[in-house]
Symmetry: C2
Subunit: 439 residues, 2 copies
């Protein structure tokens, strides 16, 4: 690891190799920033002060100024791959102790103007982008099979279409919120088990679940009537965030036939606010598992499909608990469909993809029971409650006041490029608190 001119504490999730982007609010106005350690880099100020650096790295300073003076990442996302790569090179060389750019290293005043501490009380972290549309896929075969077995039995677990196309549905973008936003436990209709004919009752969700997902922000926009080919799909990807697709299982069960989940999912979807770029993830690329049957040509790039080897985990801390108990440990590479395939399938009809659209993976369950990425699967529909140990008791679904924490680790040994999201539920009938662990 290269050392930085910014003081990064040992074990930080935000070393020089990560450099995710986000948006902070400072005294009411929003700024596009990059994160390093417990600091953020004000990108707009950086371009203003060092336009020649942007020019010399191939990102015209006028374009860069336009992109970074915005109050969300959407314009930067829409700028595409090359400006993003140039920006990463600039930041790396400016912030590394041995970087080839010395403008910040040799100018402490400029450095203090551009690089600011996140723990300033006037700073708050915001949604990174305006999400035009949010789509949730269902790309883990293990998750689809688990849910299928619980709903329809082992023989019909996987629907006939599942291996031929990445199944997905349109989600609600108005309720996608950054980690830290308070979320209410939803009310809704559900039918108690074994009531036949079914008569619904109304009240707070009794089966509140998390779904650990990884969501991709679309980069460059496409246009109506212009499908994105599988070969070009990666040019339309900006980066990823962790996502919790909060799910009300009792509401979902009653409402989802025949048009899919609706109010069971629309009350909130939480994302981590720091977007890891495709470039930061590059060192963790591995081949994806072979698909059998081979998908139709439009979904098959011909060359080896690639995914990422990154560990994901979820811990729960009970209200009385001292430390979080890990309940799930899985890996992004378990997904059957890649993001490139999702984007290609999504747009094959000519559906436009816009910069800032969010494409979620679906629950990233793996093959082993400990890698199941929702309570529904972990406690197998309530039949195998999760033991949290000691007086923490057991769980079929989330209790109020439980804290749920999700992490992504690209390289556990150095703790590098991790994003931790701390998710917390509270007060009966009231709210679900969601916090990001910024430190």
């Amino acid at each position: 690891m290269r050392r930085s001119i910014v003081d990064i504490r040992e074990g930080s999730d935000f070393p020089l190799e990560n450099l995710p982007y986000g948006v902070v609010s400072e005294g009411g106005s929003r700024h596009v920033v990059a994160r390093i350690g417990d600091y953020f880099v004000k990108m707009g100020v950086l371009v203003e002060r060092l336009p020649e650096v942007f020019d010399s790295y191939g990102f015209d300073h006028v374009d860069a100024g336009n992109v970074f003076s915005a109050d969300s990442l959407n314009r930067f996302m829409d700028a595409g791959v090359e400006p993003r790569k140039a920006t990463r090179r600039i930041l790396t060389e400016l912030l590394a102790e041995d970087g080839e750019l010395n403008q910040l290293r040799n100018n402490p005043e400029l450095k203090d103007e551009v690089v600011k501490p996140l723990d300033d009380p006037s700073i708050s972290v915001q949604m990174p982008a305006v999400i035009g549309d949010y789509t949730d896929f269902y790309a883990s075969k293990y998750h689809a099979e688990n849910v299928g077995i619980m709903m329809r039995g082992k023989d019909n677990a996987l629907m006939p279409n599942w291996k031929h196309l990445p199944v997905g549905y349109h989600g609600r973008s108005s309720s996608v919120v950054p980690s830290g936003t308070a979320v209410h436990r939803p009310n809704g209709q559900s039918v108690p088990a074994n009531v036949d004919p079914p008569v619904p009752s109304f009240g707070p969700c009794q089966m509140l679940d998390f779904e650990l997902e990884v969501a991709c922000f679309v980069g460059k926009s496409s246009h109506l009537g212009n499908p994105i080919t599988i070969e070009n799909a990666d040019k339309h990807i900006f980066g990823i965030v962790l996502m919790n697709d909060w799910s009300a299982r009792d509401i979902q069960k009653w409402e989802y036939v025949p048009l899919g989940p609706f109010t069971a999912k629309n009350f909130a979807t939480t994302i981590s606010p720091w977007v890891m770029t495709w470039e930061a993830l590059e060192p963790f690329r591995v081949p994806a598992e072979v698909q059998d049957p081979k998908p139709l040509p439009y979904l098959d790039g011909g060359s080896v499909r690639k995914t990422f080897d990154v560990t994901l985990d979820v811990s729960i801390r009970a209200p009385c608990g001292e430390s979080p108990v890990r309940v799930c440990r899985t890996n992004y590479k378990h997904l059957y469909w890649t993001v490139e395939q999702m984007i290609t399938h999504h747009s094959v009809t000519g559906c436009p993809m816009r910069a800032g659209d969010l494409i979620a993976s679906g629950t990233v369950s793996g093959p082993e029971p400990e890698s199941f990425a929702s309570m529904l699967e972990l406690a197998w529909k309530g039949t195998k409650p999760i033991q949290l140990g000691g007086e923490n008791g057991e769980r079929k679904f989330l209790h109020d006041l439980d804290e749920t924490r999700a992490c992504i680790f690209c390289d556990e040994n150095v703790g590098r490029e991790a994003i931790r999201a701390l998710l917390r539920t509270c007060e009966p009938d009231s709210c679900v608190m969601v916090l990001i662990e910024l430190a």
Copy 2:
């Protein structure tokens, strides 16, 4: 009908009683306008020139200026009911021959500055609002039953949940386009009938359908965690447009299990660009049919549910045809669920509704076969082709080059308050053209 100082030709769909709002582009910049006859009223200029009129009608001219200087209707929508009612009163009194406001009547120069002809070649009609989220409901019992009978037989036609909640799903907002936008016939996966086990093939949709719907624009926004009660729902409604929910039936059939329609619907959804307000529709209010069983209290306002008595129809003109042949004639009052119930159910979880969100009714089929509002139902899954007469031949689904025209009539006799949308399909494998008849 009151006569106007603007020259409105006999039979126009845009008399003084209609006054829908929209957005026009004029030399590259967008303006919020009201429509009267074949003219539009530039709302931003109106406030600038006559601020005292807005003040005296209770819409503070600073607020009005802020709302009408925008490049979309979203801010006006978010302003809520009273500013919208005030604006309607102002426009009516300014534009009526006997109106109590004479500022335009007595000042031809000002009138020419504010009221402009739509047939100016530098003018184009745009999307009325930025749609944050688009939701499609399924609120006609006749439509749900028809589809259910075709899919699952008569005994299981209506799902058990259907009468207890307004079934709906999240749609794709990026592909909602105004009438006039060219739309490509989508490619996708489908499985030929009777292939078992199913093996999909890829190609252009062979079962291209329309769904005649009425879509409501959300007015005042609500916030995360704050459900909109049934009593307050109408305060969050701005007005309606006609909608064609283009549907690829062959793609839909293969993909929709278990998460609902996805690419079968995301290639395009066409709306008419002039938004009729709730106030304009008020004279056509009628009680809605009694619901049996009574819905749960949160969906039941206690008082009589109201809907609108407005006629909807669809015509098709074959490429060789001289005049359009009407294939569907239905009425908005046939819907089982009201918009107020849809909004209440949608937000009961705390899901935020934002000004400019689009809430579509679902296919407005009525009880009689001629009132079915999709080709799927009209031609009963291809078993009863529609006869267009003469050399126009018959139709199971839309052919390329067919023109599909949809209308809404509030009062047929005077032709008043109608919006005509002319929808046109063309060239094999290429595109679906959508045109609005502005005259």
